[in-house]
């Protein structure tokens, strides 16, 4: 009996090996030289988290790109029409998993990469993309380090120094705050980045900051909230991931934190809106896009999500439009624009064409500066209406 079982197992394993061999053989003749007539499918890599800390917003960002692919599944280069195929990988919101996810995209021979949500994973993946010479368009990774010194990394969103400054201006203009409590997550480039830039800007405006950090896997925020209250802070700044924020806000409501909570683009998520609903909290966030900015786009996007059950589930079960979805949509079109400009779709031509690409997206006009960062000068600020559980436009904050 045991022998039979062993034999069977070996047979199954061998079959698996055969399948592997078959797979790895197939693509080789299919694309000997990208950019020639041999292929008529262009692969765009989607480098996003679908699990882990940033799983929820990562899925929403992917959704934006997928929708763009539905709207515009082909691209015309030099009179020939090519199909665009999305290759989606999950970087699991983790800096070490990001590297292998990036390698998957490289081995799939994608022409350009979109992503990621979260600066840490983008930085972690950038070495792999750089070595392979694949150009990347960051969607909502806001840390300066992503593009700095990387001539192949571009992005369509604003940066953390900008975002931190926006929040500091908001705190001072709106609340005349003197003392702020800043909560960041250790080892999260986005979180620590925004926290630091906020601190610098806020102190320049004459305020005082108490900065505290928490670690991966922490779920007890009671001590942090108690500290913020005991120190007499007037405002709480928490640029943290959605997952941690859900826990933090729940406990902030229980402990009656009693001060406005400001955050960056991560809070612009219906997960946060759901947590905040019906609670005694005052939540603001800076973000890239507000629903209603382009009604035609909004209604089409919603209709698409309603028609596709998976898409609806990935958006958290309702059709609220997250800003990162819209950025994901714009990033896709920026990539197509670059291909048209280059007149080719191999990675080197796209990389060469990207710095000069200009595109009028749903989130506004997109052009790149010398670092490859989008040139932006204002951010939307949203306020959570805790009765309806929906974000409302609070104002547009310019940076002084």
């Amino acid at each position: 009996m045991k022998k039979v079982l062993t034999l069977l197992l070996v047979a199954v394993m061998l079959l698996g090996l055969c399948a592997c061999g078959g797979n790895s053989n197939n693509p080789t003749p299919a694309n000997p030289d990208p950019g020639t007539e041999a292929t008529d499918t262009i692969k765009i890599g989607i480098f996003q988290p679908a699990s882990g800390d940033n799983g929820a917003p990562g899925k929403q960002e992917t959704l934006g790109s997928q929708y763009a692919n539905v709207v515009q599944p082909t691209v015309e280069i030099n009179g020939k029409t090519y199909n665009v195929e999305l290759v989606i990988v999950d970087n699991e919101s983790s800096n070490d998993k990001a590297v292998s996810a990036a390698q998957t995209l490289v081995s799939q021979d994608v022409s350009v990469v979109l992503g990621s949500y979260g600066s840490g994973v983008s930085i972690a993946g950038s070495d792999v993309f750089g070595a392979a010479g694949i150009p990347c368009i960051g969607v909502s990774c806001t840390n300066p380090q992503v593009t700095l010194g990387n001539d192949f990394y571009f992005r369509v969103c604003f940066l953390d120094p900008f975002q931190g400054t926006v929040l500091a201006n908001l705190a001072v203009d709106q609340y005349k705050a003197q003392k702020a409590y800043v909560l960041t997550k250790l080892g999260d480039d986005y979180s620590v980045g925004v926290g630091n830039y906020f601190k610098n800007a806020f102190e320049k405006l004459g305020g005082e900051c108490i900065v505290e950090t928490f670690q991966e896997g922490n779920s007890d925020f009671t001590s942090y909230i108690t500290k913020a209250k005991n120190e007499g802070c007037q405002i709480c700044v928490a640029p943290i991931s959605v997952e941690a924020a859900a826990l933090f806000l729940e406990q902030a409501a229980t402990q009656d934190i009693g001060m406005p909570i400001l955050a960056g683009d991560t809070f612009d998520s219906n997960v946060i809106a759901g947590v905040g609903k019906g609670k005694n909290l005052d939540i603001y966030c800076s973000t890239f896009y507000v629903e209603g900015g382009n009604p035609e786009f909004d209604s089409n996007f919603k209709a698409w999500m309603e028609s596709d059950a998976t898409a609806l589930a990935n958006n958290g079960g309702n059709t609220t439009i997250a800003a990162c979805s819209v950025l994901g949509y714009d990033a896709y079109f920026v990539a197509l624009e670059a291909m048209k400009k280059a007149g080719a779709f191999d990675k080197d031509s796209i990389k060469a064409a990207l710095p000069d690409v200009e595109y009028d997206g749903v989130t506004g006009h997109i052009a790149f500066d010398e670092n490859g960062d989008a040139i932006r000068d204002s951010a939307f600020v949203k306020h959570l209406n805790t009765e309806t559980g929906e974000y409302e436009l609070f104002g547009i904050q310019q940076v002084k």
């Binding site: 988290p49 679908a50 699990s51 882990g52 799983g55 929820a56 899925k59 999950d90 699991e92 250790l186 505290e212 950090t213 928490f214 670690q215 896997g217 922490n218 779920s219 007890d220 009671t222 001590s223 942090y224 909230i225 108690t226 500290k227 005991n230 959605v242 997952e243 859900a246 826990l247 729940e250 406990q251 229980t254 402990q255 009656d256 997960v271 759901g274 947590v275 589930a313 990935n314």
Partner: protein, 294 residues
């Protein structure tokens, strides 16, 4: 009064976290006491219990779903033991440990598949999740209940170990595996009972933990599991009261450290403590003095 009002939340959080660690730590310490196995999957059983309630409470009322979750958690612990550990009873201890790590990853990845990687919001259990005021400090009612419930459960457990036939069998097995086998004790049954008790307590722990910290993710069991393990080692692994006292000490110290403003080091403290104990008192506070045959 002012001072109490300001610092009480730290203590409350510490005691509550300590109670939750204690309930998990017992699972570690009992299994170790009997099998000499560190059951790495224990933290993940805790996570699964949380996840089960999220899904079950969506369609069932709490008075059905909570007992059902406890039952399913017990069943899960029992199955894990039968499938992954029992066939390896005669194998070297290292193989069982690796099997435990395998189960841990299996459970995490199944959870990842089921949830799609997204954090699930734990349902608010009425009464337990209400906000109450204690000497001017706000907290959830579950925080107050946790230490008392923990102590009641542990007293019951100690009574069970010291005054029942099953308890006597457990003590016998943990003293000498082979002799008790020769004396006619059904070892497999005793081990199953151990896993059932451990999983039940992990299930209760998950109710208390997630009512306070409402996000359930596939890896949420890892950190509390690790800290409970440190607590079990601190108290002397194999000793039930030791694990409980260790858990409370760790929970309270962590929060005192946070109160002092060294938030960055609160986890480092826990693991530094583990190293210090292993150096200066390898058997922990209440550990057996006899040198083991390992």
């Amino acid at each position: 009064m002012q001072w109490i009002q300001q610092n009480l939340p730290y203590f409350l959080a510490g005691i509550s976290v300590g109670g939750q660690y204690a309930l998990i730590a017992i699972g570690y310490t009992m299994v170790y006491g009997i099998l000499r196995l560190i059951n790495f999957a224990h933290g993940d059983i805790f996570m699964c219990a949380g996840l089960m309630l999220v899904y079950l409470s969506a369609s069932l009322p709490f008075y059905v779903s909570i007992p059902l979750v406890l039952l399913l958690t017990v069943l899960l612990g029992f199955t894990v033991e039968r499938v992954a550990y029992k066939p390896l009873r005669k194998a070297p201890r290292m193989s069982v440990m690796i099997s435990a790590i395998g189960v841990s990853y299996l459970l995490q990845n199944v959870a990842l598949y089921v949830t799609g990687g997204l954090s699930k919001q734990y349902p608010a259990i009425p009464w337990l999740s209400d906000t109450v005021t204690v000497f001017g400090a706000l907290t959830k009612r579950v925080t107050i209940i946790t230490p008392f419930l923990t102590i009641i459960l542990i007293v019951l457990l100690v009574l069970l170990i010291n005054h029942t036939n099953v308890g006597m069998a457990m003590r016998a097995v943990s003293k000498d595996f082979e002799t008790s086998l020769l004396m006619g004790i059904k070892i497999d049954n005793v081990i199953s009972v151990t896993f059932i008790i451990g999983s039940f307590l992990a299930g209760v722990g998950s109710l208390l933990f997630f009512s306070n910290y409402t996000g359930v993710t596939p890896t949420v069991g890892a950190m509390p599991g690790l800290k409970a393990f440190v607590a079990a080692v601190f108290g002397g692994i194999g000793s039930v009261p030791g694990a409980v006292i260790g858990a409370f000490i760790i929970g309270i110290c962590e929060n005192i450290i946070k109160a002092m403003g060294w938030t960055t080091f609160s986890d480092a403290f826990t693991f530094a403590l583990l190293i210090l104990i292993l150096i200066f008192r390898p058997t922990g506070l209440f550990g057996e003095k006899v040198t083991d045959k390992v």
